[in-house]
Amino acid sequence: MLLGLLETGFPLFYWGNALMIVIGLGFIYLAIAKKMEPLLLVPIGFGMILVNLPLGGMMDYEMTLKAPQAGIVMEVPMHEGDAFEKGGVIYKLDTGEVTAPVFGRVDSLKVSQGQSVEKGQPLASLITMEQTNQAEVPTHPVGLFSRIFKFGVMWQILPPLMFLCLGALTDFGPMLANPKTMLLGAAAQFGVYLAFFLALIVGFSMTEAASIGIIGGAEGPTTIYVTSLLAPHIIGATAVACYSYMALVPIILPPVIRLLTTKEERGIYMKPSLRKVSKLEKILFPLITTIVVILIVPSSAPLIGCFMVGNLFNECGVTERLNKTAQTTFIDIITIFLTLAIGASMPAQIFLQSRTLLILILGVISFASAAAAGVILAKIMNLFLKEKINPMIGAAGVSAVPMSARVVQVMGQKENKQNFLLMHAMGPNVAGAIGAAIAGGVFLGILG
């Protein structure tokens, strides 16, 4: 629709865009006023705003609509620039209707009324913001963010690199000092599989359910990585669910922990001193883990491999420059790309659907049941251990490093001021990150 020379966004702006802009502003407000995860919420919120301003083109993909069968064009209900819904009729042929496989707007029409077309002949060029299955509906990115999204996220470059930086920031020391806590990180992956089943029951497909389940791994890059490969059309929802629940861990975890533990259990004192882990052990761990895990679950290679090489940068002592860059500048660069792209994957037409609400609900169930499983396994372990562990550290198996470990520390000190659980909780915490990456790798191996 042309208004004189300048094409404005107003004709295509609808209430959904307005609502998404309000949500984006809300994210930015929470980041600035409440200091909630500002490094994530500011760019995600801004990306959401940008992509909901029509014709900005930031997240646009171009696709060619081809004739599904031969026929004669009877009617052309669309004009160039018109918006259409998914399934909207673009052409009427004498042999049937040609509908849009995505929502979007018409860029150019290539045939006109009365013309006869061959099967497979290009009929129109359409612009959409939807992530499509490239085998069925090939598109190519024409906007800034859609390019970043395609070549960064869909080509699986940014999430593993993010994992590399997280590896550099991770200290496996507390876990190596008390390796039985690794089991708690494994138990917490229960949330992944519970949510996977619930998602199947409420009607999601297998690949969607896996992407929703992995939210409970509480690992942003893993969630994005798995979703981008299995169910790219819901990536905005799973990424936002994962990152927001990580930020909300201090609200989600405590009620679950309180429900499953007695006051006495929460007060169980753990000696502050963990065994001192030698440098050699810390160097060997990423090497051994890489070999063991990737031999068993090859599809976890990009995540585990990057995580461990980042950690080796940190521990080996001779790559201080690489380590410092990964921990500071590089992680910032990756964060900027990744978060803006994630924010931009949420145009109203895609995000404001009932399935988004379902994903958000399943995500919180996933988080809560992950914490519950960790606590329950810790209580079971206590039946066999001479030196009891505080069952709350099981909840730190919900990785969300280090938020859930902090929650455990705060709750522990509430019961007993002399109790310092932070380091004990870091064990299950980082093991949870490894567990989530493995769970993601298994999903990809079976369903990818």
């Binding site: 876990m175 190596l176 390796p179 039985k180 690794m182 089991l183 990180g185 494994a186 138990a187 992956q189 229960f190 992944v192 599989y193 996977f196 089943f197 199947l200 497909s205 297998m206 359910a209 896996a210 030698s278 050699l280 052990e281 060997l284 761990f285 051994i288 883990t289 063991v292 895990v293 068993i296 679950v297 093991a431 490894i434 567990g435 493995i438 769970a439 298994v442 999903f443 079976i446 369903l447």
Partner: protein, 44 residues
């Protein structure tokens, strides 16, 4: 239609693998500790 057989296999197999691998890593961490302590001990 959902292939529930595959779903159950995916879930049980996946959860089992996560547990199995982390237990394997636990064992390897303990082994590393024993070996490195021995190396350090020999030096003294």
């Amino acid at each position: 239609m959902i292939d529930w057989g595959l779903a159950i296999k995916t879930a049980i197999g996946g959860f089992g693998l996560v547990f199995g691998i982390l237990m394997l890593l636990w064992v390897s961490v303990e082994l590393t500790r024993v070996v490195t302590e021995k190396i350090a001990g020999n030096k003294k």
